[in-house]
């Protein structure tokens, strides 16, 4: 049995309520975001149950396929173009042999450290972040979260947790696609101007330059970036309330924030890890 709380009439104090209101208004989005993240984290305890884990696996696979695997074609197109552009530009500044000698360090410096994470993140935001914000917004608009709760099903576990876990994994997969495709298109460009350039030689030159720090920072960029993109997409999707217009507003705000935070995160991590 639930008891109704007694109501005590209090006279509002204008200054205190104004300041309090402003503080609440300032921190409210942050509190809402933290609350969303907490609800999702809390739902992850259901993974301890084998039946729910099996169901989660299905949902996770679906999300990973949509976000990570189906992003292959756009990563290939963008990666191929970047490889072509990068090598053609570098040939303007470095003679052919010098470029081949420096290829390993230049590739790690430009592609693996910076362009790979950055462009993959931008593709994830544009392709999947917007889709998730729309999907969650639509579910919210249709009241599907309430329906699932009414059936004793945790909506955060079914609809949100798969996104939050699949996004970082997808981003990591996208880094790999991107780096491999840029390498292949770069090699193709080098081979066009110098058919004697050896594929294995250039591959080894790149692999020799990759250090643990690059792997660690890229993994961090994928985990933090993917989590942030997923959570922000969900957060704004859940804020959809009344009409379809609020979905487009949610997508617009979500993408703006994701771009700003993701770029800042990349710059910060690169600065902390690679600056001397």
């Amino acid at each position: 049995m639930r008891e109704s709380s007694s109501k005590i009439q209090r006279r509002p104090i204008p200054l205190v309520s104004t300041i309090g209101g402003a503080v609440i208004q300032f921190f409210h989005p942050l509190l809402h975001f933290t609350g969303t993240a907490w609800v999702i984290v809390k739902s992850s305890r259901l993974l301890l149950n084998s039946a729910k884990r099996r169901l989660f696996q299905k949902l996770f696979n679906h999300q990973l396929y949509s976000t990570g695997v189906r992003a292959l074609y756009i990563n290939v197109v963008v990666g191929a173009l970047i490889g072509v552009l990068m090598i053609s530009r570098l040939y303007d500044y470095l003679p052919g042999e010098a470029l081949e000698n420096q290829f390993g360090s230049l590739f790690v410096l430009i592609v693996i450290r910076e362009l790979g994470p950055l462009i993959s993140g931008l593709i994830l935001i544009a392709r999947s972040g917007t889709a998730v914000t729309y999907e969650i917004g639509y579910l919210q608009l249709q009241g599907e979260f309430g329906v699932l709760r009414g059936l004793g099903v945790n909506p955060a576990f079914i609809l949100l947790l798969p996104v939050v876990i699949a996004f970082p994994v997808s981003l990591l997969i996208m880094f790999i696609y991107f780096d491999v495709v840029v390498f292949l298109s770069s090699y193709f460009m080098i081979w066009l101007s110098d058919p004697s350039a050896r594929f294995t030689g250039l591959s080894m030159a790149v692999l020799e330059q990759i250090q643990n720090s690059e792997l660690l920072i890229n993994a961090l960029k994928a985990v933090l970036g993917g989590l942030m993109i997923g959570l922000v997409s969900i957060h704004f999707g859940l804020k959809v309330s009344k009409d379809h217009l609020s979905i487009s507003n949610a997508i617009s705000t979500s993408v703006t924030i994701q771009l700003a935070v993701f770029l800042a995160l990349n710059v910060l991590l690169s600065y902390l890890a690679y600056s001397r």
Binding site: M1, S50, L55, Q142, E144, V147, G150, L151, G152
Partner: protein
Amino acid sequence: MALIVKNFRLEFPGNLLFEDLCLELPKQVICGIEACVLGGTTSLLKGLAGLIEEVTGEVSINGVSTFGLSERDRSQHIAISYEAGGLISFFNVYQNIILPLDYHNRLDQDISARVHALCEMFALDTQLLSSFPYDLNDVQIRIVNLIRALIVRPSLCLIDEFDGGMHEEMIELAFLGLKEFQKTHATTIIIATSQDVLLGEMDCAYKIEAHKLVEFEF
């Protein structure tokens, strides 16, 4: 009595919806609540299901309070079928229907037969089981929602806006389906509807008046 509601009170800021509402329903009863725009029927159904924090009072089904139920217990005792939506877009119809059972690891060997029997009961073409929610029209979505609510064989089934968008023949067919379901399952069903004809068919009918439920007869 299967469903006992005592001193039910629901107030949102500046909007008192129900106060001192009492209701008692036996098992295997279909009870109608006359729905009107912004009348609070959806909130009442959610409140009875224990889904609204603001509710005070007492609601119990077969002696079990609906407030503070665990997810698993809720899925066993209560099912709610809403007016619209409610289906997960990337699951097909069959997966959507069995979701509450799959989620709680309560899938039986005969689950497929159960789903097909319910489809037959509500005249839903079984070919649609492999379709996705976006392939269905509004009425089919509503029927699938209803089947998903009934598949768990709940003690209390709450159905919001049962008839919206359905033509008379379909309403009759779906209602007969519910009666058929009740022959074999001791489910108490509450239906919110604006159809007078349908209210007249039910075991009892109530309307919301002065924040309470008042029984009336056709």
